[in-house]
């Protein structure tokens, strides 16, 4: 090795300040700016730059890449079980920031049939709100929370329905007491099917009917509630005691006034604990105190409500039973196999659940079952909706029959071959026979322009809409909402500013 002394200038070429033995291996020592044999004065050279990484080498530490650990931030505890769902399902019916609409009339027996009020918004009577809540008439995303108090539009379909209510209640000119009207309500998304049911319930409460509702048909077939087979049925039928119990609770809660005024008039052998002098409310209470007897109690309550006369020996305080309103929302869920399984693990068809079957059978024998008259309203849904081909065909058939097409004609819709159409569903929708009135298909469309104007004015008067509601503006919104689809109108009405303004470039 060459000497570390430069022969010409006698300067030290390499200046090892540390003993050689502990120098790091050659490959990582900093390279000198001059070759080891070179003799120019190293002292005069610029000091070599120290590389940070090399300086930082510490011998007792690992050489692997180290990353800073992320700080674990303290998070708020997740909401308790069920809290999120409660928040999602919460129904807010009033907004104190919204303006009180002056001069708004309430829905009443008089206003609901008043054709002059068509297109105006009628408030739901405040005392009735608890009843409507009890039957779960309100759904979370219907926009009730942006107004001071819940109110609905009196549209053409509502007026027609109100007249039916009046007729069946035995009032008005052409009274048809004891009649049963059965309707299946369809329509586009946002066309107001559920609110139509709500209006029906409100009218039912106004007319002192008994209102029985299934607010969400899906809950009965989604496998969420308990079920058990009924002994001795073939094919096996299943009962859902908890669902029945919940329905009894809803019905009692909402119809307490009516039910507490009616006394038991029939003999119910299956319910030994029932006293002869008890009211129907007490009868129903048996069911929701003990879910095991819920189904017999429901059957007993149904026979009581549909009785036209008391059993012999019990005529003492028999009162005529009121008509009944039965509503179901989201009926498509009942047209397929349920999430329940039979003992051999085959899926149970929804029509094998007796509770479901009980309601569905009203389509075919509603008049026979509801002897005191009433209304059966089954609505389809478009927001949470299974696509069921057979139901589509069945509704098409219903529409064709209503339009006057005979079922034997070639134009009559029928399921495609090999489409696997569900015969039970088709059977359910076949035309009724005998004295039984046919059930109807009611398709909800959009509001008319006048109705839309009344509806949008309600937004303006509630302080939500800050624009001049005039003919052209309403016409424009009417077209944009696909011909007055009320859900779309609501979206347009609640927008603070609906897109760009019309440019006044004309002339």
């Amino acid at each position: 090795m060459a000497s570390s002394w430069c022969w010409s200038c006698l300067s030290r070429l390499r200046a090892p300040s540390t003993p050689r033995a502990i120098l790091p291996p050659q490959s990582i020592t900093p390279r000198l700016t001059t070759a080891s044999f070179h003799s120019s004065a190293v002292q005069y050279a610029n000091p070599t730059k120290k590389k940070g990484a090399l300086v930082a080498v510490k011998y007792r530490q690992g050489q692997t890449l180290r990353r800073k650990k992320k700080k674990t931030t303290e998070r708020a505890r997740p909401p308790a079980v069920g809290e999120r769902k409660a928040l999602r399902k919460r129904i807010v019916l009033s907004n104190p920031n919204a303006l009180e609409v002056e001069g708004m009339q309430d829905l009443s027996s008089e206003t609901m049939i008043d054709a002059r009020l068509r297109g105006s918004v009628l408030g739901l009577p405040v005392p009735m709100l608890d009843q409507l809540r009890a039957v779960q008439a309100f759904k979370p995303k219907q926009g009730w929370s942006i107004f001071r108090r819940p109110a609905t539009v009196l549209r053409r379909d509502t007026l027609e329905m109100a007249r039916l209510f009046e007729k069946i209640s035995g009032e008005g000119d052409a009274a048809e007491k004891g009649k049963v009207v059965k309707k299946i309500i369809t329509g586009l998304k946002g066309s107001g099917k559920t609110v139509h049911l709500l209006q029906a319930m409100a009218m039912g409460f106004l007319k002192k009917w008994v209102v029985v509702t299934v607010p969400d048909a899906r809950e009965l077939v989604s496998g969420d509630t308990s079920y058990s087979p009924i002994e001795g049925t073939n094919p096996p039928q299943y009962v859902q005691p908890n669902a029945v119990s919940a329905l009894l609770m809803r019905t009692v809660e909402a119809n307490r006034q009516v039910l507490s005024g009616l006394k038991v008039s029939q003999k119910h052998t299956g319910l030994p604990s029932l006293k002869p002098s008890s009211t129907l409310e007490d009868l129903a209470k048996l069911g929701f105190q003990d879910a095991a007897v819920a189904w017999p109690v429901f059957q007993a309550l149904w026979t009581e409500l549909t009785a036209t006369a008391a059993a012999p020996g019990m005529e003492k305080d028999f009162k005529a039973r009121p008509p009944m309103l039965v509503t179901v929302d989201g009926i498509a869920h009942w047209m397929k196999e349920s999430a329940y399984r039979a003992s051999d693990f085959t899926p149970v068809h929804a029509h094998d659940l007796v509770f479901v079957k009980h309601f569905l059978s009203l389509l075919q024998n509603g008049q026979a079952s509801l002897k005191n008259g009433g209304m059966v309203l089954y609505a389809t849904s478009t927001s949470n909706n299974p696509s069921i081909y057979t139901l589509e065909v069945a509704l098409d058939q219903l529409a064709a029959r209503q339009a006057g097409t005979s079922p034997s004609s070639p134009e009559y819709p029928s399921p495609e071959a090999y489409s696997g159409a569900d015969a039970r569903v088709l059977d359910l929708f076949k035309p009724t026979t005998g004295k039984e009135p046919q059930f109807e298909l009611q398709t909800l469309g959009g509001l008319t322009r006048d109705e839309a104007r009344g509806y949008l004015e309600y937004f303006a008067r509630s302080g939500l809409l800050r624009e001049e509601v005039n003919e052209t503006w309403v016409g424009e919104k009417w077209s944009l909402s696909g011909g007055g689809i009320i859900g779309e109108l609501e979206k347009l009405g609640r927008h603070v500013r609906t897109a760009a303004q019309t440019t006044p470039v004309l002339n």
């Binding site: 016409g475 424009e476 077209s479 944009l480 696909g482 011909g483 347009l492 897109a499």
Partner: protein, 311 residues
């Protein structure tokens, strides 16, 4: 005389050989008496004509004819040795015509009959030479100058020459038929945007709209799309005065909505042509011709390059 068959050639050779071995015989005679024989056959008996005949003398040089037959082939066109002789011939011919008829009265360029001259590519095909764009433009200039001669006074020569340079099919002969509202009051118009094509039938009505047989709400869930679809009617405040029956195909939701915008704008113009400035200002008439740019090889998308990776 001698047919250029192999047989003839063989005979000729045999004749030569015979001639050298035996008594000299005139070749011409032999050829005159030519018969069909096999190559192996020996020529028959020597002919009786043994009289020596002189070969005919070359004809006299005709000096009058001599000038017409040059020693080398001369090209027909003087521009043969330029790069593009046919093109230059055309230019020369046209220039000659232009000079010849320069004195004829002309009309303004706008009044001259509209002519569809060859496009450059077509002209290149026509002459079969790679003509540069600039030179072709100069030729077209001469054509246009000749075309400006007052129509009544155009000489037949010029007319025929100009016709040679016209595109086949005469595109300007097809008269554009302006669309109108039909007898049922429907205005039909098409619009395109991105990959979508919309056909709109617009009639006077109440403001009802059907898109592919569905309501507007079903076809377009976003309010924005609905507004942009009906923008032409909305910005002219005609939303409640027309019904639209729309078929739209292809593309996505936004493209379909904007294709409808364009189609409704055009259909509305058929009903009310006076609305054009308003619609132009509203941006309904302007066609957005942009389409998706194609992906290129070596790129991840149309322009995006793969990430640079060391080694």
């Amino acid at each position: 005389m001698a047919r250029p068959t192999s047989n003839g050639l063989v005979q000729a050779f045999q004749a030569l050989r015979l001639h050298s071995s035996s008594t000299s015989r005139p070749v011409t005679r032999c050829l005159a008496r030519q018969t069909r024989t096999y190559a192996t056959e020996v020529e028959g008996q020597p002919s009786a004509l043994e009289t020596q005949e002189q070969a005919p003398a070359a004809p006299e040089i005709d000096f009058t004819n001599f000038a017409r037959r040059p020693a080398r082939i001369v090209p027909a066109s003087p521009s043969y040795f330029s790069g593009s002789p046919r093109f230059i011939d055309h230019v020369l011919q046209l220039e000659q015509l232009q000079a010849k008829y320069a004195s004829l009265p002309t009309v303004a360029a706008g009044d001259a009959p509209r002519m569809a001259w060859f496009k450059l590519a077509q002209f290149r095909d026509y002459v079969g030479e790679p003509v540069p764009m600039k030179k072709y433009k100069s030729l077209v200039k001469i054509l246009q100058r000749l075309n400006r001669i007052q129509p009544e006074m155009v000489p037949g020569e010029v007319r025929n020459t100009l016709e040679e340079f016209l595109r086949p099919g005469n595109p300007y002969a097809v008269q554009h038929v302006p669309r109108t509202v039909d007898e049922n009051g429907r205005a039909r118009a098409k619009g395109k945007r991105k990959e979508s094509t919309a056909v709109v039938q617009l009639v006077e009505g109440e403001g009802e709209v059907l898109v592919n047989g569905k309501s507007l709400v079903e076809a377009f869930q976003r309010v924005h799309d609905r507004e942009s679809a009906l923008w032409a009617l909305r910005c002219t405040q005609r939303l409640d005065k027309y019904n639209a029956w729309i078929t739209v195909r292809g593309g996505g939701v936004t493209g379909q909505a904007e294709a409808i915008t364009l189609a409704i704008g055009r259909a509305l113009l058929l009903h009310e042509p006076a609305l054009k400035p308003v619609l132009r200002k509203a941006g309904v008439i302007t066609v957005d011709a942009r389409r998706v740019e194609r992906k290129k090889p070596g790129h991840v998308k149309a322009r995006k390059m793969p990430t640079w990776v060391k080694r």
